[in-house]
């Protein structure tokens, strides 16, 4: 999968390395901003209130 993406990126090797880094940064940003905040409430920790247990 990752090999396929790397070989299908355009340009010379150094350009593909930079593009890969940008792709990774974009994925991490999306995870931090949207995905993780959305799944965190379903995790079995971090409940501080009484009465909702």
């Amino acid at each position: 999968m990752y090999g396929w993406i790397f070989t299908h990126l355009p340009g010379p090797a150094w350009a593909r390395v930079i593009q890969s880094a940008i792709l990774v940064a974009a994925v991490v940003a999306a995870l931090f901003l949207w995905v993780f905040p959305a799944v965190a409430p379903y995790m079995p920790f971090n409940d501080q209130t009484v009465g909702e247990g």
Partner: protein, 257 residues
Amino acid sequence: MTNAAPPSTDTVDEVEQPVVRRRRPSIGSRILGGAGELLITAGVLLGLFVVWQLWWTDVEGEQQAASAVAELEEALPPVPEVAGTPRTDTPPVEVAAAEGAVFATLFVPDWGIDYAQPIAEGVDRPTVLDAGRVGHYSETAQAGQIGNFSVAGHRQTYGKPFYAIDTLAAGDQLIVRTAQAWYVYEVTTSDIVRPDQVEVIAPVPGDPGAVATDAMLTLTTCHPLWSTRERYIVHAQLAHWIPLTDGMPAALLPEGS
């Protein structure tokens, strides 16, 4: 290089080709390789989630808390930087804020003079507790009033406002600042209870049926650290209050003034 090669080498290429050509991986090893990539991806995702939960939520929570406190401060009347006269008569009436709105600031001098956390109405997770705020249980009394002003906060992650809650001892001050006054509470007891023991936020803590005669404050957070098995509870009683226009609690004055 290839241009320089004479056309007569065509036959040589045909002979050499089977040697140069890479063997295509078998279908089995391709499936295994793909499964390995998926497993590595899952591991990296879990690792990133831990980084997000343990580090990034604190970064965001502290920023959100600081900006909420600063925003609330702008709406306050000017507070003279002198020690105000403590008063023990009936404090001003505080009205309930809108759900989710930041209406007060919590100070704990023992956790540093810079410690200030916004208190918002309600204990909703996405809009209050996970947004770097301390949440006021809506069904409990307002700040400074007779009854039990109860608030919940994270002990770790999301800015961890109550991280050091186990360091509070009897007599330590917990100070709540509203738009009208400073309410200075002093810690009475701390306790570790089950999550379903809602009597800790009753008007008289621990006695749900009783009619309150004292102004109390209760902090609730999770316990032990990194777990939600139990709740750490700190009760405090109102010692005195100071009108905002009169000055500040002595414990919050900068050193040397």
